[in-house]
Symmetry: C2
Subunit: 130 residues, 2 copies
């Protein structure tokens, strides 16, 4: 992919930004496509990938790596938090705060730089529709 930031304000890029703001949870490229198509009928998935890459580069989005699934993206600049994934519909949601009370004990010679925490379960929508 070209690594340059896309500078023009296109309807598509605006629709993609709106999709992330409206969802208020980490979205996969496919989910971002569905969200963006609410504003622009025929956005291409390629445009989604291009603009996500651009928005990540300009630090408007950050990447959320999900174990065993494709990456999600969320609006950048939020406070330290972690994520919840519904084991039924695979949507990812934001969790407030952090349950880590103490620095994890690492083996001798290991250095800590960061941590990620994932909670699994059923989201409200899936619980209601079952």
């Amino acid at each position: 992919m070209s690594t340059a930031i896309q500078t023009r304000n296109t309807r598509q890029k605006e629709a993609i930004r709106a999709a992330f703001l409206e969802a208020d949870r980490p979205l996969s490229p496919e989910e971002a496509l569905i969200g963006a198509q609410k504003q622009v009928q025929a956005v291409s998935i390629a445009t989604i990938y291009r603009n996500i890459a651009s928005l990540v580069e300009e630090q408007w989005l950050t990447t959320v790596d999900v174990p065993g699934h494709s990456s999600r993206y969320e609006v950048a600049g939020k406070a330290h938090h972690h994520h919840f994934q519904c084991t039924s519909c695979n949507t990812v949601h934001e969790l407030a705060g952090c349950v880590m009370q103490t620095r994890p004990k690492l083996p001798r010679g290991f250095t800590y730089t960061a941590h990620e925490f994932f909670v699994y379960g059923t989201c409200a929508d899936c619980k209601n529709n079952s």
Copy 2:
């Protein structure tokens, strides 16, 4: 992939089991290949995949989903623990215990079933060789 458990005791399967026992950390299929080849010179990567699938099915191995990387596998039946991934060499290591003190607070209507915790940093080998 065929879903049947492989029941015969082949040199290759034994070598694969030995690789996991010796490593004592979650291995990727590629890592398992390298480990198994210490006992059997020309194991095929296809055999690694077949036997890992079989060993997972017979619950001798469990899958470790790693954010942003391919799955690792570890010997099953261990106590609750989490994992460390070296950001330099990408190896995954086992961490003793669990730093989660309190159940995470979930949004209204969400149900908890499990959690995963990943610590990132530099492993001892990489710290020494830098």
